[in-house]
Symmetry: C2
Subunit: 327 residues, 2 copies
DNA sequence: ATTATATAGGTAAACGTTTACTCGGTTAAT
DNA sequence: ATTAACCGAGTAAACGTTTACCTATATAAT
């Protein structure tokens, strides 16, 4: 069923059908309007959005590329994006980059070919600055900052001060030998977080010891092996600041296995506040990012760019301490 | 940049450009092929997939509608789907139904308008059988079975025998008072699971007590409050079979709070084997579904339907016991 | 010498919409 | 009575591809 066939059945032109379907029926009589609508209903007509998109040069579709939906942080981000997009009449194409620049680039190309109206990118850690935005598709960087020369929006969180506060919190709780487990500093956020940890230590009169720092990935495994490593290399460690909550989960597992009590013997603080942290044993104290909200903001920002509105291209959120059982 | 402009620059027809871009260059001289390709590269030409789709009536896009990506079960399903789709050159549009038929229907309509080549649906629990598949878009039901009259593919797991085995396992481990916490039986899977639990009890000479059964949702909260309820209503309970892993997580939290030891005092078994189960404290014993694989199979099946191949329209996987710390 | 086949490429319609523009007719204003 | 404004609807081009079909030349086969 096409608009033309509907038109024939209703004895009107395809223009008329188009108008009534799209509610541009100011100059359509109530009689024809009803008749057309009835036939549309009766015939089970489904509008062809791709034909429409070709004409109006707009797909009402957004692309989102994230490292991995199975990661709770990104699934919440994705959910925030999807919900906000849906409210505004947009669909989203989901792409998992696995933190690989090659996949990321490939996806961005495909999204541009599919003529998405905008791309929301949680860049892989080793992402380079330059994107061939050949089509000039509007883009906003989410969570992961990138020094990019194109005009792109940015939604971030203050990582350095977040980890700074987290570390200070551990110190205030009485920790004296505080370790740090996180990802390699191949990305800006990783650098900023490590920097926050070191700064806090120094500001409070502690020393930074490389044996107290374990860097690998933002994964549970890193937390697990990192904790083991810290325990092996140091006579004592009574607190550890984790680069994110996944790492905290892994660290807790390692401590549990070693029979080390949390929080009595060692205190743990995470970062992100993914929703599972409230259900672990013990529940994890963490520096919360407004994850879902950031997803929402990303679509607000990109829609604003798409609509050509005057837009503030950078929005940085604050983190917030959520104290639970691991401190 | 369009194919026509490229054609002009290369002094060939748009047909020729199209042919070289799509590799249908059997009858194109090496010279023109190179020239066209160079100009394409130089001009940063990006093919317009929506124009192509309109012509070839195929979008290389699949729709997936699931209750919620933030749920680890569905995010793994989604990941399996996305990976398999990507390998076959397909993109996916992600839709969260929140378990609501209204959203589900709305999304299916939109997906059809966007002319996706197929729809993979993890139906909401109260989904009704009939879908207005006006366009006749190929469809496969994933995880959630539905008695549907249209010709749709189905990927499922043997729920009844899965829970049956889980319950038997608890019995074999010495449990005598086994509770069951799960979702309302508003869906086929919920019915089958409850049925498996009851059957196991009866087959082994136990009685089914309604006070030992708590039904609500497939959520952590249900597990938490359900466990509390079971404890309140029964003199003793030494084992509980959970309708899924989220419920198990909630139940464990409740037990931990009550200072009841797992697995000594009460044993817990979950269902699904979402990846977080290995990292909880204690790690959760569960009946595993091949979640990721089921996602992959769903796209294999739908592509096979799309390509008009002779296809077995039902695939049911077995569950597998994974013994960990809660039993 | 004729015919067949392979090579290289062009023409133009079609995919299903939207929309600027046109065209009568009716009503209201001058 | 003329003009202006409003109604209701139709015409046809355009969006960017693909592809069936056509043309023309060169080579090979009979």
């Amino acid at each position: 069923m096409t608009i033309k066939k509907i038109a024939k059945l209703a004895n009107v032109s395809s223009a008329t059908v188009s108008k009534v379907i799209n509610g541009k029926d100011k100059y359509i009589s109530e009689a024809t309007r009803k008749r057309v609508l009835e036939i549309v209903e009766r015939e089970g007509y489904v509008p062809n959005a791709v034909a429409k998109s070709l004409k109006v040069k707009r797909t009402k579709t957004l692309g989102i590329v994230i490292p991995d939906v199975m990661n709770l942080f990104f699934s919440e981000l994705a959910r925030g994006v999807e919900d906000a997009a849906e409210k505004m009449g947009y669909s989203i194409i989901l792409c998992n980059s696995d933190n690989k620049v090659s996949k990321e680039e490939k996806y961005i190309q495909i999204l541009q070919e599919k003529m998405v109206d905008g791309i929301i990118l949680a860049a892989s850690e080793s992402s380079v600055s330059k994107y061939f935005n050949k089509r000039g598709t509007p883009m906003v960087l989410l969570d992961r900052d990138l020094s990019v020369d194109d005009q792109v929006g940015k939604i971030t969180v203050d990582n350095e001060s977040g980890i700074y506060e987290a570390t200070c919190f551990l110190i205030n709780k009485g920790c004296r030998d505080i370790g740090y487990i996180s990802s390699e500093i191949s990305s800006k956020i990783s650098f900023q977080r490590l920097s926050g940890y070191k700064k806090a230590l120094l500001d409070r009169g502690f020393q930074v010891s490389e044996s107290m720092i374990y860097l690998n990935n933002y994964t549970i495994e890193t937390g697990y092996y990192g904790m083991l490593e810290l325990l092996k290399n140091n006579i004592r460690v009574d607190g550890v600041c984790c680069g994110n909550d996944m790492i905290a989960i892994g660290a807790i597992k390692a401590l549990n296995e070693k029979g080390i009590n949390i929080p009595t013997d060692v205190k743990i603080i995470g970062f992100d506040d993914i929703y599972i942290t409230q259900y672990t044993e013990p529940p994890i104290t963490t520096m919360a990012q407004p994850i879902y909200k950031m997803g929402e903001e990303a679509v607000k920002m990109i829609l604003s760019i798409i609509e050509g509105k005057e837009t503030e291209l950078a929005k940085v959120f604050d983190t917030k301490l959520i104290e639970r059982g691991t401190t």
